[in-house]
Amino acid sequence: DVKVTQSSRYLVKRTGEKVFLECVQDMDHENMFWYRQDPGLGLRLIYFSYDVKMKEKGDIPEGYSVSREKKERFSLILESASTNQTSMYLCASCRQGAHEQFFGPGTRLTVL
């Protein structure tokens, strides 16, 4: 079974803090994605990566950065957290191309 794990299920941070969200997949997938999910807005793509050290901006990259130093790991970084970044963050992976995506359990981030 494909497994995608995320470092935390729940996280509470203060405005201005640097936040790291980590995602690890065990199926040797080339593509990895970070989404945020807010009520009524569906899934919005923040960044994706199609190879190690490669990254592409999604629809809402402002305020975020990413790192992919190893194929199995994709990190999302909030350089200076703000209250409008309170959300559910979902990581996903898939093999090369627009194929079935496997999601992690999500991290519910609250920024106070």
Binding site: F48, Y50, Q101
Partner: protein
Amino acid sequence: GQQVMQIPQYQHVQEGEDFTTYCNSSTTLSNIQWYKQRPGGHPVFLIQLVKSGEVKKQKRLTFQFGETKKNSSLHITATQTTDVGTYFCAGGSGYQLIWGAGTKLIIKP
């Protein structure tokens, strides 16, 4: 940019009634995928359609991909409480999927 519109946003049904959600894309898609997200859970892949006009069934669920590859639908016959959740369509485009906003299926008590 590319968009996939999904309607309705919510659908309330009595148990045993049917449910349908529709997706329309502004551009031709390479494929359409459907996912289900249970309350408190994460999206889980249901199916992928690739061919123009394709129809696939999974028990009480019927998935269609339009002739123009710009629209799709999911129909559930005789809903059960286990069907509760949000159903998302996602259109394949290059490396990415373009996601619909989802339709939340609510079963009326």
